[in-house]
Symmetry: C2
Subunit: 328 residues, 2 copies
């Protein structure tokens, strides 16, 4: 098959389309003709050699895909050749073929395209896992979502709205904030205007947020903790601004009963990804089918333009997901 | 009534027995003749002026007590004059009388004395809340309990054993470790022998602990995080060694999916203390009645010797709870 390969590690110049051995599906796997994949921050890190794939994962980039089943293993109940599916992958999405454990496949609702299907798995499963399973989100809660216009951010805003809770978001431009408000966020803060903590206090009448989804890490830690309500949870999904914080006041954590929760979907064992996918399918597929939830797509590139797509993500200009169309 | 009062803040010389207005019970409160109370670290801090009581709480020291009901308000279903009860208090335990919300009272099993009843609430409710409600303890898990010989530590070891899980503990002397092993701990480390992290790795075959109960805070943070298994939770119950840590690697938190959870029983709202007490009663009272759980008492002092009792806790010599007998 053809796939996007890396000629060493570095800038976008190392990306090229070449030949690679086909994946070998097991009894429990679907072999899928990939129609579209989507970008994640991890792809940029992996391209630079800063995020080696976990043991046993394909070296090809791409943590999600949408496509059609061309072969279903004997233990793949409920799926057959021709089914349109999307799924999380441990890697290998930037390719013509992918092997997907049937338990991790989601049927793409008829009203959605492959491009839209490819924009679902990472963003929505990450948001779902963090909001519901780790965050214990309940109706009426206030959630601060950093990077509100990112893939995970735009998914989180919609899931928060569907849960009867309130999203307030930060983003880096007025255009991004407007899009987040359209998706259901109650308020937005342009982080280029200064510290967000006083704004969160104002938005919550001094109470703070019940839950924070953060991708920035160390530079935001102190403000994030100050922005939490009592019993609040800070969920750290990324450390794009730096991993090592120089100060943590455990006394404040104790007195206000705060929690700091680190999480990474990619490092979860397969059984847990399967369980998460099952849970998410039940919640989300009917909502995608009737339009309450929508994959938010920033842009679609043919995979021959993968370098351009990476540059777009590196420029932080995207609102929602950047999709790569895999053209055979 | 008589109560232990503070003449200013400072060393044990500020403690004296004097007169204080009686508590005024509401419809939902029991008025209790206090027979025994027990010491907590918070008492020492409060005596030094470093832990002001929360708003609305009595200024008298004492976060727990055991005694007999002398008056039950109209809304106190299930309790009557003469009942032997113990309970958490927001303060006011070092006194002849205490008003206790009926929902927070626990009947003392017949086989236990008032001294033993007074040794239950803080230690066991703290351990229960942290292990089960915040820690998600399940059978087979390994829990590292620091200060294993403390009131909370000795309670935690027993609850962990009852849950079918495994306690490994740290303590500051061979005598303390021996007592912890008798209570059901699987192994103990004398922290005066050096870093505990390599020992935890050895005890868990390199996997790490699923849960850690910590009272030390900042000086232990790095070792604690290194000692957690994937998806492990560090529960910070105290910061006796210092509150402010100088380094936190959020990247490690994220990759290994670790959680840092701050908690304080005292700051919980009353409704939540009531809910916790209800849950704990169902789990623990039958086990106290048949001897599977035992309050661990280090020593019993008449309340006229309250200064000696405080000095004993300050010397860190105690194994289990230090009880003050309130003699009318």
């Amino acid at each position: 098959m053809k796939a996007v390969l890396l000629s060493g590690f570095g800038g976008v110049e190392v990306l090229r389309i070449g030949s690679h051995a086909d994946p070998v599906p097991g009894d429990g796997d679907l072999l899928v003709r990939v129609r579209a994949t989507a970008l994640n921050r991890a792809d940029l890190l992996q391209r630079r050699g800063k995020y080696p794939p976990p043991k046993g994962a394909p070296e090809i980039l791409g943590l999600e895909m949408a496509g059609e089943v061309i072969e279903a293993g004997q233990a793949c109940q409920g799926f057959k050749k021709g089914d349109r599916v999307c799924a999380l992958l441990p890697g290998g999405g930037y390719a013509e073929l992918a092997a997907v454990p049937a338990g991790m496949a989601m049927r793409i609702p008829e009203n959605l395209t492959f491009d839209e299907g490819a924009a679902i798995p990472e963003a929505f499963l990450t948001a779902y896992q963090n909001l519901f399973n780790l965050g214990g989100l309940v109706a009426g809660a206030t959630v601060l979502v950093h990077a509100g216009a990112s893939g995970v951010g735009t998914a989180a805003i919609q899931l928060i709205r569907e849960a009867g809770a309130f999203a307030i978001i930060t983003a880096g431009s007025p255009g991004k904030i407007t899009r987040c408000l359209e998706l259901g966020a109650r308020a937005g803060w342009d982080y280029k205007e200064g510290f967000f903590a006083p704004w969160v206090a104002e938005q919550t009448e001094g109470r703070g947020a019940d839950l924070i989804l953060d991708f920035v890490g160390a530079p935001y830690l102190e403000q994030n903790l100050a922005s939490l309500a009592e019993d609040g949870r800070l969920i750290v999904v990324g450390v794009l601004g730096g991993a090592v914080a120089g100060r943590l006041d455990l006394g404040a954590l104790l007195m206000r009963r705060l929690q700091i929760i680190g999480t990474s979907l990619r490092s979860l064992r397969r059984e847990r990804k399967v369980a998460l996918t099952r849970q998410f399918r039940a919640f989300a597929l009917p909502r995608f089918a009737d339009g309450r939830l929508k994959p938010v797509i920033d842009s679609v590139y043919d995979w021959t333009e993968v370098a351009k797509a990476h540059l777009r993500m590196e420029s932080n200009a995207n609102i929602g997901k950047i999709v790569l169309r895999v053209v055979g």
